[in-house]
Amino acid sequence: MLELRSISKRFGGVVATDDVTLDVKRGEVHALIGPNGAGKTTLIAQVAGDLGSDRGAILFEGADLTRATQHQRVRAGLARSYQITSIFRRFTVLDNLALAVQARSGSSFSLWRPVAAETALAEEARAIAAEIGLSGREAAIAATLAHGEQRALEVGLALATRPRLVLLDEPTAGMGPEESQGMIALIERVSARVAVLLVEHDMDAVFRLADRVSVLVSGRVIATGAPEAIRAHAEVRKAYLGESAAA
């Protein structure tokens, strides 16, 4: 469903991603792992459209999105979440989610009718709040949420766009073990209907969720395969997994 063909991105002299070819199949959870600075976040940004690509092509459901703007990609069903929480901090939880629902339902060039009267938006936002475990927190201002709750909202914003493929950049970043379990369970539920490209440092999460794993080192994909195969892969062990696979 997603096909990356030899995409690259450099920042001045630094090559962030180098000739990356990768695909995500329908219904799949595809994990992207690699050491810090490997280019994982850059790659997510290239796919989502935060960043353009210097070379290569990005195909999604057969359409060429290489030059598409970010909002066009979201319309096409490709949404992302951020490693560093990026929410509408002064909005309530409900307004955060309703906004994302609004983005894909009808024109927002409506200048007169009160948006608060649109019960359909609020209802759908409520359903998403329930799904991400924020039931009862709808009226809270996003900035006042606990870290774990903000992370859930971060992912919820991406889900509220109703993507067909969601790019999750370290959804468990900064979470305690218990919160991480909640996030993993959420991704598990979501993956039943949405394909997922997952950047994650937590290897337990990766091996529990992923159907396939790609390993990115210095901007290059050095291996792609089933979790077991990646675990056994000699080069991967050397480059990255080493300590944590042995443990």
Binding site: Q70, H71, S108, R113
Partner: protein, 317 residues
């Protein structure tokens, strides 16, 4: 603000010409209404949209000049001149916004300032319409089924347009569009990442504000039956910004409160001599900017939400 407060203010404003017959104060009150509309239109981009436009005088000035040109050319009907002036302001805002909104932060501030200054020099060079001397009008526009020549009628016209403008701002702020604009101000990157074409929304907001600013400009020229290039000068943009900051950035009442406060303060300093102050600073009345500056400083330090914001907070507390 309390729900009844807008109504009370409106009633007072409606009663004002009945109670005060002195032409100076009627004219002064009209001036506040006109500036309140201009400042409110700037508040839409600056406060609600988070776009720090330092060139709003370009749109006010375009409205003022285009409506005056119609009268100078003998087309006195407000039915023609006013919509044309507002449309011209919207078109100028579209052109300036389309370029400026490609930039961010300090660059946006500077490029809007630059465009407005270009307009200022352009108008200065229009010898056919008075050049740097400005353009005096024989009379106000006709039409609209009212006698705009009467200062009382003009006052009520300005009041009606201001009320309509602020009501429209209120509706807009709570509409789908308003929520998107607020989201962009809050977190532009994420607004794009959940699927909003951010640039288009900002441009639409910029154009609406430009058109409303143009309407204020129409009234401004009509009020004094005179327009000169200074309505486009960057200090005019600065004055409008000061009004918005004084009144309350992103507050519905910010433009009105700010215009009343700034013009009121200037009038107070210039026309009401305080003896003990004059004994220390004999010429202080010629330097009203100093007093305004001190008040602005106090507002920014002690009531960063502006006067309207301070009131809203007190009520909640």
């Amino acid at each position: 603000m309390h729900r009844a407060a807008p109504l009370a203010v409106l009633v007072l404003a409606l009663a004002f010409p009945l109670a005060v017959h002195e032409p100076y104060y009627l004219s002064f009150a009209s001036r506040i209404l006109v500036y309140a509309l201009a400042a409110s239109s700037l508040n839409l981009v600056l406060g609600y949209g988070g776009m720090i436009s330092f060139g709003h005088a370009a749109f006010v000035g375009t409205g003022a000049y285009v409506s005056s040109m119609f009268i100078a050319e003998g087309i006195t009907s407000a039915w023609i001149g006013w919509p044309a002036a507002v449309a011209a302001s919207a078109a100028v805002a579209l052109a300036i916004g389309a370029v400026s909104l490609r930039t961010r932060g300090a660059y946006f501030i500077m490029i809007t300032l630059g465009f407005a200054q270009m307009m200022f020099f352009l108008v200065n060079s229009m010898k056919a319409y008075g050049g740097d001397e400005g353009l005096s009008l024989p009379a106000r526009a006709t039409g609209l089924g009212i006698d705009l020549g009467s200062d009382v009628v003009f006052y009520y016209t300005a009041l009606a347009l201001l009320a309509a403008g602020v009501y429209a701002l209120h509706r807009l702020a709570h509409s789908r569009f308003g929520r998107v604009i607020g989201a962009i101000r809050e977190n532009e990157a994420r607004a794009e990442a959940i699927g909003f074409p951010v640039y288009r929304y900002k441009l639409a907001c910029f154009v609406i504000a430009g058109a409303a600013g143009g309407l204020a400009g129409v009234l401004l020229a009509s009020h004094g039956k005179y327009v000169n290039p200074n309505v486009l000068h960057w200090t005019q943009s600065g004055t409008l910004m000061v009004m918005v900051i004084l009144g309350g950035v992103g507050r519905l009442w910010g433009g009105i409160v700010g215009a009343a406060a700034l013009l009121g303060l200037e009038d107070l300093i210039a026309n009401h001599r305080v003896e003990w102050l004059a004994s220390m600073l004999p010429n202080y009345q010629q330097h009203s900017g100093l007093g305004v500056g001190i008040v602005l400083l106090a507002i920014v330090l002690f009531a960063p939400q502006g006067i309207a914001g301070a009131f809203a907070r007190r009520r909640r507390a």
